[in-house]
Symmetry: C2
Subunit: 251 residues, 2 copies
């Protein structure tokens, strides 16, 4: 059976209806999706994404239990929040057993765009293989790159291409791609084909607009964390009714 895999390079290039009853994968490599994987891997109970700072504060007030506020605007920590958007901050001693209300400049809005999807997973290089295994065999997969303020982010597209490449390697010619998915795969192959140790991935992240921004605000270490392919088997899943992200159950 044919499997459809569509990539959307930026949220504005698609419509909420594109996700209806499909499997969605949301990508914001630098840094929201990397941070969410890290937080859940470190024992956070759930991550509650919100589009605005105001919505996040409101959700934190409404949430029972031990809540932390996390996120960023333009890469920087938000005043009064407990945590920024560096994956390195989301250690077990900070987040284990806690709920995290989370808002970022690009990633959370992209996640909320997929509400009509049957399932929505969060992808990063740190969980690439686990994510590909989780969605393999799904009939219709929509991969949404968060981008940066409406512009295409190289690192998000490279990850989309890496996911597409893994799906193709398993399923071969029965996978049908849209042009963006084919391009993303081309781009991933252009970077990764001769790069067994991911050194070119790390430099691609560092050179990208998002990577330069992360370095500029003194968080270079986040780039190495984001480029650590397959550091985790955690696949975060957004529950579209409760709008909470938890570790996905096995298919």
């Amino acid at each position: 059976m044919t499997q459809l895999v569509n990539v959307h390079l930026i949220p504005s290039s698609c419509d909420e209806r594109d996700f209806s009853d499909r499997t969605a994968v949301v990508i914001d490599v630098l840094r929201a999706s990397t941070t969410i994987v890290t937080a859940l891997a470190a024992g956070a109970v759930e991550v509650i994404p919100r589009a605005t700072i105001e919505d996040a504060r409101h959700a934190a007030q409404q949430t029972r239990g031990s809540v932390l506020l996390g996120g960023e605007r333009d890469g920087l920590p938000i005043e009064g929040f407990d945590l920024g958007n560096s994956p390195g901050e989301y250690t077990a001693d900070r987040v284990a057993g806690r709920r995290i209300v989370f808002t970022t400049t690009n990633g959370t809005a992209a996640m909320l765009k997929c509400r009509s999807a049957q399932q929505t997973f969060i992808g990063a290089f740190v969980n690439l293989s686990a994510l590909a295994d989780r969605v393999r065999g799904m009939d219709e997969i929509e991969i949404l790159c968060a981008g940066t303020r409406g512009r295409v982010s190289r690192e998000d597209v490279l990850l989309a291409g890496a996911i597409v490449d893994r799906l193709i390697n398993r399923h071969g010619p029965t996978v049908r791609l849209n042009d963006e998915a084919a391009l993303a795969r081309d781009a991933w192959r252009g970077v990764a084909s001769t790069d067994p140790h991911n050194s070119r991935l790390a430099s691609a992240l560092a050179e990208s607009r998002g990577g330069r921004r992360v370095a500029q605000i003194g968080m270079q270490n986040d780039l190495a964390l984001a480029a650590a392919v397959d550091g985790s088997r955690i696949v975060p899943e957004l529950d579209s009714e409760t709008l909470r992200i938890r570790i996905a159950q096995p298919a």
Copy 2:
């Protein structure tokens, strides 16, 4: 000196002001830019791009001399026009010595978006090397992919990447790329790195949304014509004042 090379994957991702006083390259591989190169190579005096069918008819009435109307809508010839948008139609016996008023679904609108550029060139695989030679050394280059009805077209991005790759190979690390330019180059390398005879380029064109459309309307031959890398040394240039495309003079 640093050279900036920016790629825009679709016209909606940039603004007319992005081109101000810069060097623009417009790409619509399937098929407008391929056809324009072919027409000028076959001896057409000039190509006069217009955004709408009505504007094209009006321009044809206003133009002195021997005028032909050419172009397409949704790939198909336009009623009452002399020529469609197949490069193969633009032979010397049809177009030599003639002026061609030209309107296509995506390409002509993209060309008209670059009006504020200092110079605007038209790029296709058929004039890849000549085009790269012509813009090499320009300080600020904006490469605009026409796309298809607001969606990214794989073939246009691959050509953008091929141009970027040639500029980098000559200038090395002094070329600064935006994320889209880096991605386009990654994608081109993913397709072309092991493909000395461009067979993968031909199949990439055939697999793309635009290529499938061209095949669907029975014009498969156009795909081979569009994939004929460096078949021509012609570089078309749009005069932003008169809005006419002629063969560029040497720099």
